[in-house]
């Protein structure tokens, strides 16, 4: 009898020790009177952010920073689990679409009362690029403070474009297409004019913005895919594929290689390609490249604005210290330093006056484009509408479906999603 009881105890202990390993981590207690705040930053930024820690801690001796770098792939899952457990970091790096998602779910602290406050002078939504400010708000409330921005511009082979008569980059959508046609003629079989990725819903939106239509009107919660301007923008986009000016998804050539070889002499991308292009030129040699603001449509040359901001978790035990850190990161000087350490473009406009940014020819193009850049609509339903846009584009480009009828169908689907069915 005794033996069985002992055995039972041992097996129970074994089970408990296994389960114990899964239990949540213990609360971090402050040692030596310092408050520890935990910061979650994604990908490369997360790794480089640790360089900022020393300077911040020297200026704020009472706060200790604990930076955790999270790979982008698993970031969303981690944020959801942390939010579900109502614990996790104090400060989180978030892009605009995730700000919407987590703000709507009540996972983020409303920072509106700190906007333009005396205590935190750097948190001022007027100091940031308009697009970045818009991307930090959900239903009029501030949930995030812009950290760094990026926007998409036109990368082009200046040598090849000069050969077809373009001494400068195309300035309008019509010129862009004309240049693409001429480049294909110049290159011959297996060459393309402009690189467009069908899996990226950014392009239909950008071309529509440029023609003065918002595919999703977030204020009135209305889908505008069936708008004549939206349809003509989509037809313009699809024509690149239909006429062989852009490579379909079956062409799997790395863009850097294709650009250097002149197979894809134009593409639209963000600031991270600058270094890659410089490296490509240094290794493969013989080509000239440049960047220019996007060609304009009927209205203007709006581009897509991305980047990230810093938010405070609704479950943070130390919101004051968390906001102190965010205020520090929005300081123009810190923003310039961040550009120097991680190449993240400052979200604060005044930081661009620093000579290291103002005197850079390539960066000035981004500076110009940032004034004409928008964030995607700040609505919770964006992600599922995006999936539908991708499907529609695939149906049109790969499946050869008719643009008009597809856009009509998409408007219905999107409107149903917006109305909650």
């Amino acid at each position: 009898m005794k033996k069985t009881i002992t055995m039972l105890m041992i097996s129970l202990l074994l089970v408990l020790s296994v389960l114990g390993g899964c239990s949540s981590k213990s609360e971090e207690t402050s040692t030596d009177g310092k408050t520890t705040i935990e910061v979650w930053a994604m990908g490369d930024e997360g790794k480089r952010l640790s360089g900022v820690v020393k300077d911040f801690e020297a200026k704020n001796p009472k706060i200790k920073l604990k930076v955790t770098a999270i790979p982008w792939d698993s970031a969303h899952d981690k944020l959801v689990t942390a939010a579900a457990a109502k614990e996790g970091p104090d400060v989180i790096q978030l892009g605009s679409s995730w700000v919407t998602e987590f703000a709507a779910a009540g996972g983020l602290l409303d920072l509106s009362k700190y906007d333009k406050s005396e205590e935190y002078p750097n948190i001022n939504s007027d100091d940031f690029f308009a697009g970045a400010s818009e991307g930090s708000k959900y239903e009029g409330k501030l949930y995030s403070v812009p950290w760094y921005v990026e926007t998409r511009v036109l990368y082009y082979r200046s040598d090849l474009l000069a050969q077809v008569g373009y001494k400068e980059a195309p300035k309008t959508q019509a010129e862009l297409k004309d240049a693409a046609e001429k480049l294909v003629k110049l290159g011959g079989k297996g060459h393309y004019g402009l690189d467009l990725a069908i899996a990226d819903p950014m392009y239909p939106q950008v071309f529509s913005w440029q023609n003065g239509v918002d595919l999703i009107d977030s204020k009135n919660r209305k889908a505008n895919f069936n708008d004549p301007k939206a349809i003509s923008s989509m037809e313009y986009y699809a024509s690149f594929f239909k006429e062989g000016l852009a490579a379909g998804p079956d062409v799997q050539i790395d863009i850097t290689q294709a650009f250097a070889d002149g197979i894809k002499p134009m593409y639209i991308s963000g600031p991270w390609m600058i270094n890659i292009m410089n490296d490509a030129k240094a290794t493969t040699g013989e080509f000239e490249w440049n960047i220019a603001p996007l060609p304009a449509g009927d209205t203007d040359n709006t581009s897509y604005l991305g980047g990230a901001g810093l938010s405070v978790s609704a479950y943070s035990d130390n919101p004051k210290e968390a906001i102190t850190f965010i205020n520090y990161m929005a300081d123009p000087e810190v923003q310039v330093n961040w550009y120097k350490t991680a190449n993240g473009l400052p979200a604060v406009t005044s930081a661009w006056e620093d000579p290291s940014l103002a005197d850079d020819k390539i960066l000035s193009v981004f500076r110009e484009q940032l004034d004409h850049a928008k964030v995607p609509p700040m609505i919770v339903e964006l992600e599922s509408i995006k999936q539908n846009i991708i499907k529609m584009v695939e149906d049109v480009v790969v499946g050869g479906a008719d643009v008009k009828s597809e856009m009509k169908k998409l408007e219905q689907t999107a409107q149903e999603i917006l109305d909650g069915k």
Binding site: I5, A105, G106
Partner: protein, 297 residues
């Protein structure tokens, strides 16, 4: 009372830890998934439980009407119908061939065939992504040397499915081969000796001794492979993201996309429960069929 329960059944003490872990991590979640599938649980609901509403079977009705789910379902059937026999036949074939010898060459070959099984699917999928690349890929390069046209390995709706099947089969042959090998070595020598005395040829021994006596191993391999293929996930997730035009999407990938990309947990839970029921039903059918044939034993 409790103590008597254990003293009468001492084996309970040994299976108790496994039983508890299984209940907590496998059986309990199934009921949670069933519960969640009857609600409109999403990210908002997760953070604020008062927002969660009971919606009955609405998620299941939506699933049936969802074109994307139907496509994922038929793709999964395609994977199962072609993948399972391919894996069973190929791993049985490899095992039979490797069973003919015991020298160093056979040991090396055995290790070689087993290698893919110990590599993570993600690494394999990334490497195969390069091999299948239309422009730089090794496969198309070899074809170009033979003056054959390029094959759109991952960009043609049907070829993409086949490419994924070939890769996944290549990966899973090793593990199943080991099971067949073990079973082959467990066949008593007496049968062969008796057959030889009767003048049986090699192929007769194969057909009338080896294959029938591998019945149980075949059953095991077939049922685990079937379950594995119904849960086909990593390969399409990494290599095609379900494309082109949804033609490589699988039920598991559909569930993942709905649950973790769009945070529609209720809908995803309904999808996973449907998958659970399909697998449960098919496994039960397999067991039923198995009972009918008893082999030589």
């Amino acid at each position: 009372m409790k103590i008597r329960f254990f003293s009468n059944r001492p084996y309970m003490i040994f299976i108790l830890p496994a039983l508890i872990i299984l209940s907590v991590f496998s059986i309990f979640p199934i009921f949670v998934a069933l519960g969640v599938s009857l609600t409109n649980m999403n990210l908002i609901g997760l953070l604020n439980w008062s927002q969660v509403q009971f919606v009955g079977f609405e998620n299941y009705m939506d699933l049936l009407a969802d074109k994307e789910f139907r496509q994922a379902f038929f793709n999964t059937i395609f994977y199962v119908v072609f993948g399972v026999p391919l894996v069973v036949v190929a791993s049985l074939g490899v095992a039979l061939l490797l069973d003919y010898g015991k020298n160093k060459f056979f040991t090396a070959a055995r290790a070689l065939f087993y290698m893919p099984s110990v590599t993570t699917s993600v690494a394999i999928a990334v490497v195969f992504g390069y091999l299948y690349n239309n422009h730089y890929g090794l496969f198309n390069y070899v074809l170009s040397l033979l003056d054959l046209p390029k094959v759109p390995w991952l960009t043609h709706p049907i070829i993409a499915k086949i490419s994924l099947i070939l890769m996944a089969a290549w990966k899973s042959i090793g593990f199943n081969m080991i099971i067949f090998l073990a079973a082959l070595q467990g066949i008593p020598k007496d049968y062969y000796e008796a057959a030889e005395i009767d003048g049986a040829k090699k192929w007769q021994k194969l057909l009338y001794i080896k294959v029938p006596l591998l019945g149980f191993a075949t059953f095991f391999v077939a049922s685990t492979t079937l379950i594995g293929w119904f849960q086909f996930f990593e390969e399409p997730m990494i290599m095609t993201k379900g494309g082109p035009v949804g033609s490589t999407n699988s039920i598991a990938l559909f569930i993942y996309d709905k649950g973790f990309k769009l945070s529609e947990f209720g809908y995803a839970a309904a999808g996973s429960f449907v998958l659970f029921l399909i697998i449960l039903a098919l496994t039960l059918i397999q067991f039923k069929l198995r009972k009918k044939d008893n082999g030589y034993n």
